[in-house]
């Protein structure tokens, strides 16, 4: 199972008190399952993660994802730029 970096921003980073962690995740999975695994690990942020999208290597992904060792994942909660 590949070891990946997972990044947190804004409200989620504050809730977890963590900007980044390294996790071991299944190689062939899907974005919903990845977010569910992360939420399971951080029950105090389950509600925030439920509204998030997953990005892998700076691109939004949905459905099936293949994770490689060293991939950079980001949990993108609803954005508020502009």
């Amino acid at each position: 199972m590949p070891s990946v970096r997972v990044l947190y921003f804004a409200q989620l980073r504050e809730r977890l008190n963590c900007a980044e962690e390294t996790l071991t995740l299944p190689e062939n999975t899907d974005s919903t399952a990845v977010l569910a695994l992360i939420a399971e690990r951080h029950p105090q942020a389950r509600d925030v993660i439920a509204s998030a999208r997953l990005a892998v290597d700076c691109a939004f992904v949905s459905g099936a994802v293949t994770l490689c060792d060293g991939a950079e994942l980001a949990v993108i909660t609803p954005v508020s730029g502009g």
Partner: protein, 141 residues
């Protein structure tokens, strides 16, 4: 044809407000959007805000949105899109979008498209500070 997409540390400078760099005689129409930090939001007095950002992804998203707008509205358009980051005060400029195209329908449509898509997909988050001393991360915008 000019294509410019960038993040900027701090409020945008006054030079970012003008589409002057995009003016060209094959483009008869320039549409622009400038976002300004307001002193009120959701019925509350805002005294300042700060933008958090996933920077490498945000740079990539800005560039992709420009390509998307060109593919959708006018392959020959010129575009400039810049988003500020970090701490800002009311009246500061947080985002500037300029689109030059042969005709105004495409220029307006591409400009509007870019700000709407930016607000959907740009990994940037706004934390507002209020007059009563409280702060809050905005959810969507």
């Amino acid at each position: 044809m000019i294509r410019h997409a960038a993040l900027h540390d701090g409020p945008l400078p006054v030079a970012a407000l003008t589409p002057a760099a995009l003016i060209a005689c094959e483009h008869g129409a320039v549409a622009s959007f400038v976002g300004v930090v307001r002193n009120h939001a959701h019925g509350r007095a805002v005294v300042g805000l700060a933008y958090d950002c996933y920077r490498p992804m945000a740079e990539r998203v800005l560039a992709q949105l420009v390509v998307e707008a060109a593919n959708t509205f006018d392959a020959d358009l010129s575009a400039s899109i810049t988003h500020g980051l970090g701490a800002m005060l009311p009246g500061d400029v947080s985002v500037a979008i300029h689109i030059a195209s042969a005709h105004r329908v495409a220029a307006f449509a591409a400009c509007r498209h870019l700000i709407e898509r930016l607000k959907q997909d740009l990994p940037v988050w706004k934390r507002e500070r209020y007059a009563d001393g409280s702060e809050a991360w905005l959810k969507g915008s």
